[in-house]
């Protein structure tokens, strides 16, 4: 599976990363290099092995439905890039 420049641009956008056109060629080469490593997976016969999402066989623990968190909004907003009127601000979004 080899990626072309356009596909790389697509993937980058999916991850909200931008690649300068001048670097695109290089990035594509690097990614393809890594991909050929990953493609080795295709040659492995995994038989009927189940996919392993977690190394430990545990079930999800459940939490009591209690309010345990205090209002720390002031401290949290102190480190935010831009806030106003208790809100986090981003450039206007048009829906």
């Amino acid at each position: 599976m080899s990626l072309d420049n356009n596909k790389v641009k697509e993937i980058a956008y999916l991850a909200r990363l931008s690649i300068e056109n001048s670097e695109l060629e290089q990035s594509t080469k690097e990614l393809n290099n890594i991909l050929s490593l990953m493609d080795q997976l295709g040659e492995i016969d995994t038989g009927d092995a189940e996919p392993m999402a977690h190394p430990l066989e545990m079930s999800q623990r459940l939490r009591d439905d209690q309010v345990t968190e205090d209002d720390l909004s002031e401290e949290f907003q102190e480190i935010a890039p831009k806030t106003g009127n208790n809100h986090f601000l981003v450039p206007t979004v048009i829906e």
Binding site: I11, L41, R61, A80
Partner: protein, 480 residues
């Protein structure tokens, strides 16, 4: 010299008032100041001195617990309240964490003294600590060489004795490999042993914190303080914590040691091989039985890991978007611009590569061929170990195929990835693993890897400790 004492010795020294925590702390802070290894991103001197004084007053009262007053270096991947937490990245260069990781809380509650946050590969992605926004870390044994990564700063700090121990994290070998390259003892416990809450996530199903010390005994002491169930982490195991220092002195007679035949093939450097084989002989002399085992899916660990980890990280790193904290680009003109520039300017190249690989592997049409397939291979690798552990107690082998390499010598990602061959499968299977100093090649340290079955940290520490009673490698120092 205080810095040549082990933690066990420092604890005694503090208790018998041979020196105070303040003296110990000032000593280390001064050594850190003189160090040119770039092992630290932040040095928290003021806070450290305050903590040391507090520790001294507790020690004076006579009811101090084990680690009171012991200084340590904290990998900059752990959130520390009120202190910069950067994960080695420009993205978090301005991030003063508003909360403490569980691990940070635990060590604080022991009244320990945090010297500072150590340098690391950005977001834990790397094997040489050359991927840090804050510059590379140097190997104390040869400053032209890499210390290993991603916990390169922690390893260099402990090896150069500018901190008695350091915390590290290991996702594909990031504790064990730098420990090996710097000649110290590094332990990655069983997945779920130590809380991940507040530990900036790289690959959630693989990440695990662990102690980096000079000795196995020190490692056991620290593990006692780090381990334990945390209700804030759903992947934290609800298993009691034994006293890891209790059974260090058990005899190794009859211990069955497995040597995977796949680990001793052509790629292995001759110098490394020599050291490992000698170490095995030493174990034989202690009464252990050496058995050949097979881990047939070993080589498959590389493609499996380099799909699972990027997939998980591509999602874990989506939260870095310039909205609520961290780096935001200047004058974003719209939302897309905000995302694209904040992320592209904030992340380094290796991080961006892995995010893109992950995004691709999870995208429509590729999920089955990559992510799902990788998780199946993971199952196979896990079964290999299960089978092997039916015949042996501990598996041993190299940590890294070569000793520390030159800074800047490995330019392409894939070559760097291939060097993780011995460590990756341990994370994929969630098993505990250690690296202990076992010798030198070309004057550079070589580590021996010990791999145990789930929850066998006691056995691993015992096995490591016995080796350190019989050999002197762990006492070798690149400094006076």
């Amino acid at each position: 010299m205080m810095h040549n004492l082990t933690i066990a010795e420092q604890i005694k020294g503090l208790k018998s008032r041979d020196f105070s925590s303040l003296e110990l702390t000032e000593h280390y802070l001064s050594r850190i100041d003189d160090s040119e290894l770039n092992a630290f991103i932040s040095v928290t001197s003021e806070q450290a001195l305050t903590q040391a004084k507090m520790a001294d007053s507790i020690l004076a009262k006579g009811n101090a617990s084990g680690l009171t007053g012991i200084p340590y270096a904290h990998k900059d991947i752990f959130c520390t309240k009120g202190v910069k937490t950067s994960a080695g990245s420009k993205m978090l260069d301005s991030f003063i964490s508003p909360y403490d990781a569980t691990l940070s809380e635990k060590l604080n509650s022991q009244n320990m003294v945090m010297l500072g946050k150590t340098n690391m590969d950005e977001f834990a992605m790397g094997s040489s600590n050359e991927n840090s926004y804050y510059g590379s870390v140097k190997n104390p044994w040869d400053t032209k060489k890499v210390p290993g990564g991603s916990s390169g700063g922690s390893a260099a700090a402990v090896a150069s004795r500018i901190s008695p121990f350091a915390t590290g994290t290991d996702t594909g070998g990031s504790i064990r490999q730098p420990a090996s390259l710097c000649g110290i003892t590094g332990l990655k416990p069983t997945y779920g042993r130590i809380s991940r809450y507040g530990m900036i996530a790289y690959a959630s199903s693989l990440d695990q914190a662990g102690p980096m010390t000079r000795t196995a005994e020190d490692s056991a002491i620290i593990l006692n303080a780090m381990a334990g169930f945390d209700e804030r982490d759903s992947t934290s195991a609800n298993k009691s914590v034994p006293d890891y220092t209790k059974n260090l002195s058990k005899s190794l007679k009859g211990l069955k040691i497995g040597l995977p035949k796949e680990y001793f093939s052509e790629g292995l450097d001759k110098g490394v091989e020599r050291v490992i084989i000698q170490a095995i002989k030493d174990y034989e002399a202690m009464g252990a039985e050496i058995i050949e085992v097979s881990l047939p899916n070993s080589m498959n660990a590389i493609p499996a890991y380099y799909i699972v980890a990027p997939c998980e990280c591509s999602s874990n790193l989506s939260r870095f978007d310039g909205v609520r904290y961290g780096y935001r680009c200047d004058d974003p003109k719209d939302l897309n611009d905000l995302y694209l520039r904040s992320r592209s300017e904030g992340f380094g190249d290796e991080v961006k590569r892995r995010i893109m690989i992950g995004a691709y592997a999870l995208s429509a049409g590729y999920y089955d061929a990559y992510y799902l397939k990788a998780q199946k291979v993971r199952q196979l690798i896990s079964e290999d170990f299960k089978k092997a552990f039916k015949e042996v107690d501990v598996i041993m082998g190299p940590v890294s195929p070569t000793p520390a390499f030159e800074l800047g010598s490995i330019k392409d990602s894939v070559s760097m990835y291939l060097a993780d061959i011995y460590t990756l499968s341990v994370n994929l299977a969630g098993l505990p693993g250690m690296s202990i100093p076992a010798g030198f090649s070309d004057n550079l340290p070589i580590g021996l890897q010990l791999i145990g079955n789930h929850w066998s940290e006691e056995l691993l520490l015992n096995t490591a400790h016995q080796f350190q009673l019989k050999t002197d490698w762990h006492n070798a120092s690149p400094v006076d």
